[in-house]
Amino acid sequence: MTAINAMVYREAKIRATNLVFIFWDVFYPLGYMLVFGVGVNAALGSPLVGEGVDYNAFFLASVLGMASFGIASNTSWSFFLDRDNGIFFEMLTYPLSRSAYMLGKVLFTLLVSLVQTLITVALATVLFHIHLRWDRMPLLLSVMIVGTAGWFFLYAIFALSTRRNDIFNTVTSILYFVLLFASNLFYPLEPLPKWFRAAALANPITWQIDCLRWATIGVGNAQVVAMESIAFIVFAAASFLYAARCLQRQQ
């Protein structure tokens, strides 16, 4: 546990003493919420087709999902930072196991994610007067924890498998574009073409957003959400196992 604490402390020191990271980790997804809240909500009017809620309420889960996805992407880039600084291999000789190295990084990411969740939820309530399901707050936090961990492990696979920063950045940009847009993050799926819906339903972002929407504003089918939760947990576990394997292979 001491080794994991040291790892979390190190990650926190690096990110908390650099303003750029604080912006990307905490404030960037909030920008989406403010822009969409003012612009898109007014343009679309309410209630949103098929959902019975306005766009602000619909989009709250999306902001949380983007925060989860974005923070995981930002912090998994730290594998590259460690490698470019040369310290990656030296750290593997520190008194910590390779899994502690990975767990330390993911724990720190989860802490940032939880802070982000609390800020987003508070702003959504105060600025947009969204009626939250406070009784489902523990579920919301659980979804953010499992979701962020899952995305972090997925990104870690790419960060540990490729040695080049430019390839990693390209992969993450493509993932960001494809996964976020081919999902229910920006729009409800019902009015969309059948092939698009099929692609979106196979996308783990959709699973996470459905869970988040159910946990924040109560929209969604409980059975579907339960199935998607299980699917996401399996996805996160598989990503973890593969990322751990990639880390073990480093020498």
Partner: protein
């Protein structure tokens, strides 16, 4: 008492390449052990195995009795490894680099801060304590990296080319620190290409080439391996034009002419060294002449060149 390091017949292959090829050695506690060899000899690979970064293809290695493959965490708790490449947290300050490192080794905060102050003074970067390492020069970054080794008291310290980027003065100070650590019982394993460093520091030296042992022993034992090797330094008023062709008749290990001074190491049977020197000096004005026995560099060159020939 167990040795600090025990290596039995380790082999490490990368595809068809045998980077380490059946290496065996043991290192006593509290010694400064030098692992020497030319580029690609297998030094860093051996160090990577001993520091648990890499697994041997076959053979066993242990640090303070802990097998590097079966008990890697126990090994890591007892070592500090300063790798060849500069390795620092660029986005942290100098002080935070030291404190973070100490935290990994479970040094309590107060002790860590006291040691950080001492180490920064010793390595002469107290004025830069709060600056981020990314704003410092390459040499500075290397100093921060090496300084970390003195933040903790692990019994074994691995240093891969530790003096890279250090000015001569600081290098001497770090060497004195390393000797002091060894006196206190710490085992220090270093690799270096700068043989004068090994000559000054190491009590026990292993020379490897192509992943195999070429020679082993303390400095005097190694010098015996090259007992017919001499180093001659000769300063002329003017370097003779024919010197290069004349040297071709001598079995030289290395030769260099700089500022009218010829420095040559050669192999000659006992008693014949004066003949070589006389031949080189004949009919010339020699301002200074120095004849020495073999240095570690000569031993190293002779042994590794023999290896190449064989």
């Amino acid at each position: 008492m167990t040795c600090a390091l025990e290596v039995h017949n380790i082999v490490k292959t990368f595809g068809p390449v045998r980077a380490v090829d059946g290496l065996s050695f043991a290192v006593a506690r509290g010694t400064i052990f030098g692992l020497l060899g030319p580029n690609g000899a297998g030094k860093s690979t051996t160090l990577k195995i001993l520091t648990t970064l890499s697994r041997p293809t076959s053979g066993t290695a242990s640090v303070l009795g802990f097998d590097v493959v079966k008990r890697p965490l126990d090994v890591r708790q007892r070592i500090v490894s300063i790798i060849q490449e500069t390795a620092v947290d660029l986005l942290l300050s100098v002080r935070d680099n030291l404190l973070t490192f100490a935290r990994f080794h479970q040094v309590d905060t107060r002790t860590a801060q006291r040691r950080a102050a001492q180490v920064m003074e010793c390595f002469r970067f107290t004025a830069e304590a709060e600056r981020k390492v990314q704003d410092l020069s390459g040499g500075f970054r290397r100093r921060v990296q090496v300084a970390k080794a003195f933040m903790v008291e692990t019994p074994v310290l691995f240093l891969d080319e530790f003096s890279t980027g250090m000015d001569p003065l600081l290098k001497r100070e770090v060497m004195a620190l390393l000797r002091n650590e060894a006196h206190r019982g710490r085992t220090i394993v270093l690799t270096t290409q700068i043989l004068s460093e090994a000559e000054e520091l190491c009590q026990d030296i292993l020379i490897i080439d192509h992943g195999r042992q070429v020679a082993r022993g303390d400095l005097s034992a190694l010098k015996l391996l090259a007992k017919e090797v001499y180093e001659v330094s000769m300063t002329f008023d003017q370097v003779p034009e024919s010197i290069e062709s004349e040297l071709q008749t001598v079995p030289t290990l290395r030769a260099r002419v700089e500022n009218n001074t010829l420095e040559v190491a050669f192999k000659a049977p006992d008693g014949q060294v004066l003949e070589v020197v006389t031949a080189l000096a004949r009919n010339r004005r020699v301002l200074r002449l120095e004849v020495n026995g073999a240095s570690l560099e000569d031993v190293f060159l002779e042994l590794t060149q023999e290896e190449v020939k064989s």
